[in-house]
Symmetry: C2
Subunit: 155 residues, 2 copies
């Protein structure tokens, strides 16, 4: 595992996660608990909606993306701590049988004047299906600690 301090990140870096597959049962189980709408619960009913077939809840997709990111080898020291999301889109639905992986691009690295010893990285996170079609795109800000004893960043 490569745990990274703020100093180990720079704009332009990209990381890729492992892969996972989502099936109809998982889509329906998540939906029954958190997003019980026909297009996430029932194949037949879903055909008569704007989704034209069973599709994962957007927050199910977001949670699966989180699972892939947390399981990746390259991670900030202290873990993936999201301060917020600037934008999140689902360009196409996740369908039963889809295999997902995630590409993370570092866009910006900043030390925080307000929190000595900590900084943020802004990343673009793109989840892709087995055809390399984007199913989720988001811009996230993550909290990352500075390397201990770095006077330039620890103020």
């Amino acid at each position: 595992m490569n745990e990274r301090y703020l100093e180990d990140y720079e704009a332009g870096q990209t990381f890729t996660t492992g892969r996972l597959t989502v099936d109809a049962e998982q889509i329906k189980t998540f939906a029954a608990q958190f997003d019980p709408q026909p297009f996430h619960l029932d194949e037949e009913a879903a055909k008569r909606t704007v989704f034209n077939g069973l599709a994962a809840s957007g927050f199910h997709t977001a949670s699966l993306v989180m699972r892939l990111i947390v399981g990746s080898e390259d991670r900030p020291v202290g873990g993936f701590i999201g301060l917020g999301i600037e934008e999140m889109r689902w360009p196409r639905p996740v369908r039963p049988g889809d295999e997902l992986h995630v590409r993370i691009e570092v866009l910006e690295v900043r030390a925080l004047a307000s929190r000595p010893g900590q900084g943020t990285i802004k990343v673009r996170t793109t989840a892709l299906n087995q055809n390399n079609e984007a199913v989720q795109v988001s811009m996230n800000n993550l909290l990352v600690p500075c390397r201990p004893g770095n006077p330039a960043l620890n103020g």
Copy 2:
């Protein structure tokens, strides 16, 4: 239930959902599946992190908010279909025992030239805990059908 067409929405409307309580077991179960990091999985380990105690995964909070919204009385015809999120923040963590409810404010209503018969509403969604402190704030765009036979909007 009050199913609403695009014409039934206007900027300034607010809706409030019911309430639900989240416990430590639910926080850990969600985390084990989607966000297995110490601050979401284990009370003792969480004390030694930036969260200073067990906290729900941000996507668990987002999923609980979705559950409250989907269960609310006032809903768009066809359901809550998110086109995307413009911004999502978690101003404070959700803790075991927290009781959440959600306030939805309509900010903007637009017919879509590109999709006759459909429009979008932009809403600010604020999830509050039992002390009325915001635990999640987001700006979401939802797809909403126009009332059938409205020539002005169905182009």
